[in-house]
Subunit: 197 residues, 4 copies
């Protein structure tokens, strides 16, 4: 069994990988889509996503470090990524955000969940460039973006090699922002701006 | 031809009524769903919505009046509603918001579109009550909510009988909030709170 | 030595009590005002305040309890209060917010400081009623309001008798909102609305 | 009579120039400070400011142009500035914002006032650098920052030479951001990020 189609804006996020077309959705979980179904809905509806910028805070709540996932694409290029994933049918935004944080940062990372689900930014991804700054060639996605303080040890699971922590100034440098594909450099700049960086 | 299934959280919003099952989607518009398709996707994915509270402002930007749609249900009960509707595949949030404002308030109403698409509230509608305050028995919807100043004359199209303008205190009274079904009274209170009412 | 003029919107908050008129400001601390100075500046400039609604969260970040300070006025009336206090000259908003949280909730309460200092509400207090919903007969104050998750044990210092924890619905009931003087019931409703309550 | 001390973060904003020390405050207006009084309070309390980034929108509310004031300093250096000014005693934030927009953009500019006074950013200016990104050597100021759509003709009064309109990308370029003194380049980047630029 070979699963090679990722479901998330981030092409290497394995957690939401669809089941193969010949495997039915787990009983009672209509939010689990077969690959065919996923292909179909992706072409008919905008898909809801959550994304998160993990940060470390000082004692007064100021952001002192920003965490970016480091990933290698199949052809060996290194890219940076945010925590990101789809919201399933029947799942609340909080549940989806928590699930993707745990998937991407590991079980020993303790996210400080936001008190409000009003996002710091809404990113609209389209398959075709030029409509917004954000591109996802697999789908039209509406992504709610949060800045999430994290304590504990981050041990990325799935396809990420590591979480790189850096000062906000380094995260905001053109070099770093350019390492995020699909317009997510702009998104990172917007999210950090919202928390005073 | 009889269309009796509305697509929106608001059950009487005709604009997004699905095409009947036997009519194909208009060529080149994958966002237009047949009734069968809509039924299918509604059970598999959260659907993206935008909602708006129309308001009138004084010269300094303070809300002085709140506009609520008045609707009669098929069985003759009067209810209040917000401007509301689905975001189609390929459509930006701004386009969807503008389209639904025009549909619900008429072409002579001039909405002052928000500068940011960060909503004042995110309402998560589920078919089953108790998960959040918001219920929509047709679907799981994630709705981005805005407060939109409107000038000009509101002449509701579709199934709304009228737009009723009232002082913020009246809109926030328990009597008015109770007239909005599906938890939208809570939503109206939250949206008006965000603009200092 | 008798100090009977409190400096905060909350009349019983002792922390910011001015020094008596005959005692100079502590050396090097121009933000510490004598009573005469405080009287003077209060009549000439709007004073910057921070206010906080302490809350307890569940594991997904949802507010499950709201903390209100219980105070007795000199004439024996019980009132509810938010955490509140002045921002001193040379002090950042974060420092002032942390200081007042510690003063009002005690040293064993651990506030989860906000990542952004953009408040959920700005309350403008005026000595004369009718300009805004908020009244403070001592001054014109511009108050930045936050919702602050708190863990640990709250042991109110100063003049508060206790911190009462209650469900968000109880905090939002007309009975509770009416127990907060000077328009702070409206403020509490707005702040809780911003976090989805 | 020579007035050479401006009162605003922007050193050339004449509107809020203090009255000379020998002239009493206009009767009944305690918010009007003599130069001596202003000097005194500036050293004792944080001063409340409002700042605005004027923008032009397209029909869907998206920012298409950003307006920056162009000013010459007394020694002939050109700098960029935001609309900015102090909030007087007894004045609401809305009144102050409107007053400064009119002062800085002229009477033929029509600002679309924000529906909420929750700012897109709070800038804390200190006389000493290093505490925050924002510096104002005259005072400790807490500034509430807004993005304000403007229609009509901008005809800067006071000391500004002109309002320069530019695309958001140009406003966000390092070259432009560097032309704003006192950390306001960071502030402009944050404010534009908040509206999706």
């Amino acid at each position: 069994m070979n699963i090679d189609t990722a479901e998330l804006p981030d092409p290497d996020d394995a957690e939401d990988r669809p089941a193969p077309a010949d495997r039915p959705a787990p009983a009672g979980n209509p939010g689990w889509l077969s690959e065919d179904e996923l292909q179909f809905v992706r072409g008919r509806l905008p898909v809801v996503y959550v994304e998160a910028v993990p940060v470390r805070l000082d004692g007064l709540g100021q952001v002192v470090e920003v965490g970016l996932l480091l990933r290698g694409t199949p052809d060996g290029v290194m890219t940076r990524a945010l925590v990101s994933g789809r919201v399933r049918y029947g799942e609340t935004l909080r549940e989806a955000l928590f699930r993707h944080l745990e998937n991407d940062l590991g079980p020993m990372a303790f996210p400080q969940m936001p008190t409000t689900m009003c996002p710091v930014q809404v990113a609209e991804y389209f398959p075709m460039p030029g409509i917004t700054p954000y591109v996802d060639d697999r789908q039209h996605a509406v992504s709610l973006v949060y800045v999430v303080p994290v304590t504990g040890a981050c041990d990325p699971r799935q396809d990420a090699l590591e979480v790189t922590w850096m000062a906000p100034e380094e995260a905001l440098s053109p070099e770093t922002l350019d390492e995020l594909p699909g317009g997510r450099g702009t998104l990172l700049r917007q999210a950090l701006s919202a928390v005073g960086c």
